[in-house]
Symmetry: C2
Subunit: 223 residues, 2 copies
Amino acid sequence: MAKLSLNMDEYLPLRDVVFHALRRAILTGELVPGERLMEIHLAQQLGVSRTPVREAIHKLELEGLVSMIPRKGAMVAEISEHGLRDVLEVRRALDAFCAELACERMNDREKERLKEAYEAFAKATETKDTTVIAKADVDFHDIIINSTGNERLISTINNLAEQIYRYRFEYLKDESIHKGLIAEHKMLMDAIFSKNIEEAKRAASTHIDNQEKSILSQIHFKD
Amino acid sequence: MAKLSLNMDEYLPLRDVVFHALRRAILTGELVPGERLMEIHLAQQLGVSRTPVREAIHKLELEGLVSMIPRKGAMVAEISEHGLRDVLEVRRALDAFCAELACERMNDREKERLKEAYEAFAKATETKDTTVIAKADVDFHDIIINSTGNERLISTINNLAEQIYRYRFEYLKDESIHKGLIAEHKMLMDAIFSKNIEEAKRAASTHIDNQEKSILSQIHFKD
DNA sequence: ATATAGTACATTGTATACAATACACAGCAT
DNA sequence: ATGCTGTGTATTGTATACAATGTACTATAT
C-alpha cells in the first residue's frame, strides 16, 4: 500500500546545507578568492556548530573551490591564469569528445530539447540579464553532455565547469559576443543533428577557444 | 575484516593518515567492495577517535572509492560493469589527448626517462610479481601524463585510474598479455618520439581498449 | 502462520569540550 | 634599532557527549 507520500521534505544533512550555501556564496562572488573561511565565524553566522561547517569546507576543498593549509585554515581558492588555461585545455578535449558521442547517441527527444534550448538561449541574450543568459547557456550544453549517457564524463565536466563559473559569468556580460555564441551553438547543434563528428568536434573546440580568449582578455591576474 | 595499521612516522593530520590507510586497504582489496565502514569500529581498530575517521571516509567518498547513504553509513564502493565502461571511456579520451600533448611537449630528459621506463616494464614482466609489474606500468604512463605539464589533466586522470586500480591489478596477473602490453608501450613511445600525433592517439586508445577487454573478460559482475 | 506495533540497540548526525599549534606582540638584552 | 624569547590569543585538530534515526527482533493479535 502506498504511503501517503507527504513530502518528507527531503532530509538533507546539515553539512550538505552548509556546503551548498558556501558553494553558492563562492560561485556568485559573495565570498571572494583569498578570503579566509573560519569555522567558528561561519558556524555562528549560519547558526550551526563547527562540525558541519568543517565537513562542508573539506568537501569544497575536494571540489577545488577552497584551498586549505593544515593547522592554518581554509580560504576561497584563487585560480591563476595558468590554472585557468589548464582547466580549459581539459574541457576542450572533453567537450569535443562529448560532441562526438552526442553525434552517435543523441535521441530524437533530446534533439528536440536541444533545438528548444538553442532558441531559448538566443532569446535570453535579448534580456541583457546575465544570470538568465548564463542559465540558458548551461541548459544548452547540459543537454549535449547528458546525451552521452556517461555519468563519469558528466560529473568530470561539471567539476571542471565549476572551476571557471565565476569567470565565465564575467565574459557573458559582454554583449558584443552574444551573436558569435549563438552562431557557435548553431554550428555545434547542426553538426550533431547531421552526425558530422569532425565538424562537431571542431565546433565544440572553437567554442572553448573563444571562451578562453574572451575570459583572458577581460580578467587580469595577479601573477 | 582485515587488520589495519597506521603509519605515524611523518607528521600528518590524523584524518590524512587514516585516509591513506583506508585508501590503501581498499585499493589492495583488503577491504572488499560492499564492505561496510563503521566509524566506531574503524576508530577503535586504528586507535583514534571517530572524528578523523569520519573525515577520511568523507574524503574517500568524494574520490569515489566509498559510497555513503545518509544516516545509514558508508561502504566500499562497488563498481558496476556499466560504471567501469564509463570510466574507461573517459580515460580513453583523456589518454589519447595526453598522447597528443606528449608529442608536442615532451622534452629530451623525459624521453630518456620514458625509454628507461619502457625497458624497466619489459624487465618487470619477467619477475612474475604483479606488484612490481603494476608499478612499472604506472611509472611508464606517469611520465607521459606528467609531460603534458597540465596539473588539472594529471589529477583528473589519476582520479579515473584510481577507480579501476583494483581491477587492473587482476588483469595484470595474466601473463599471456604481457607481450602485447610491451608492444603497445613501444608503439605509443615511438609515436611520441616521432611526434606522430595520430599514431600516438591510436596507440593510447588501443591500449585502453585492450585493457577493457581483458578486465571485462576476467571480472564478472553481479548486475 | 502472518502481519503489525512497539521496543531495544546499533549507528550516524551534531554539538561541545579539550589539546595542540601558529601567530602577533611585548619586553628585554645587545 | 635589531633580534630573541616568552606569553597570550586565535584557530584548527581531536576526542567525546548527546540527539536523532534506522534496523532487527519480539511479542501480540488476528
